[in-house]
Subunit: 227 residues, 2 copies
């Protein structure tokens, strides 16, 4: 489903060139549940942004569901980002002018889900995450962990075939984190693909596969459970 080959990502700063991803190749099949672990600054979010079509590699190829992403039109890229890929960002990236419910509904709006169903799915997902009663709050009126849960609800309400989650439980206490993990395991058992970045060993060991990154390169790749 995801086929990254020889991905290089670098940034130019003045005269020097900083290589963030150094020749990364990675294959992920439909239905897998991959945890990406590694030290701070090692390139995990950069790798996830590449997979999520938010960032174009400096060189290398990315084939997604059999189609070369370099050949996709901007419209097609936007459609995939907005309707097929669910994103939980490391810093949430909620829209500040929309309340929690509206933030969660946004991908469903893009996918053309009818208004009544959209509202039901958003409320149901917020409820599963303990956010009932806070749906009309804007992000600035929510605690850190509540904002993270809205970001999680927004991604999960889509029932995405590919979920990309960057440190999805960083701001949550361990019990809420365990509930979030449970929802992701359910999504995966329905056949959807998950790639998640985590510092939490407990979450990593619940994945089917653990990929370790260090200094912009993949240094380990362990299968924990079969597909």
């Amino acid at each position: 489903m995801i086929e990254l080959k020889n991905i290089v990502k670098s940034y130019r700063r003045g005269s020097e060139e900083l290589q963030i991803l150094k020749n990364v190749s990675l294959s992920v099949e439909q239905g897998d549940f991959v945890a990406i672990i590694g030290p701070s600054g090692s390139g995990k979010s950069t790798l996830m942004n590449t997979i999520g079509l938010l960032d174009v590699p400096t060189s290398g190829s990315y084939v997604l569901e059999g189609v070369a992403t370099e050949k996709m039109s901007d419209n097609r890229l936007a459609e995939l980002r907005n309707t097929k890929i669910g994103f939980i960002f490391q810093q949430f990236n909620l829209l500040p002018k929309l309340n929690a419910i509206e933030n969660v509904e946004l991908p469903l709006v893009y996918s053309g889900v009818p208004r009544k169903e959209r509202r039901e799915r958003a409320l149901r997902m917020l409820g599963l995450l303990g956010m009932e009663g806070r749906g009309h709050h804007k992000p600035s009126e929510l605690s850190g962990g509540q904002q993270q849960r809205v970001a999680i609800a927004r991604a999960l309400a889509m029932q995405p075939s590919l979920l990309l989650a960057d440190e999805p439980t960083g701001a949550l206490d361990s019990r809420t984190g365990a509930e979030v993990l449970e929802l992701m395991i359910q999504l995966n058992e329905q056949g959807n693909t998950i790639v998640l970045i985590t510092h939490d060993a407990h979450i990593a060991e619940s994945a089917r596969r653990v990929v370790s990154i260090r200094d912009g390169q993949i240094v380990d790749d362990k299968r924990l459970a079969p597909l």
Copy 2:
């Protein structure tokens, strides 16, 4: 040093009033190391913002170092916030137009530390946090955990007599988190006061005292080690 009595904090939303802190009283003596724990949304950050003079309670009194904060002038409040209290925010709050070094130096600028010493202290603290080589990056050019380390360096470079830390290791792997904890223990052993919010049981058990908050009220207060 910190004397909160009957603190109430509420927000009005349309016709209803949401009580976030419900009659909270808390005393913290100079040199203590207090961990605040509790579920997401229970009021921890709101309590810390009150202690840090970033937010005024709806009612109740806050006496800081023997002076009633309600009586302090705006200049005095700003001076305390900028030069005596070190803050590590849950969402970092770095200044986007300044690079890492400049962000770390800012409180030292307010305290009138001379330029050469300011630069040395900032570089030294960034180095202790593994950030050498990234000092000239702006926040948008840093990973999540790197931004958090800049926020930590900014607070610690001040050697503040009161450090307020809101989930200071949320974005860090456990080894870097342990190094950060070590720096805070050292600061406390020099006689400074620390109040920190954490979801990490390991960090909480390294404090001298653990205060538990649930639903806007203090429900437990355990001394783990003497002052």
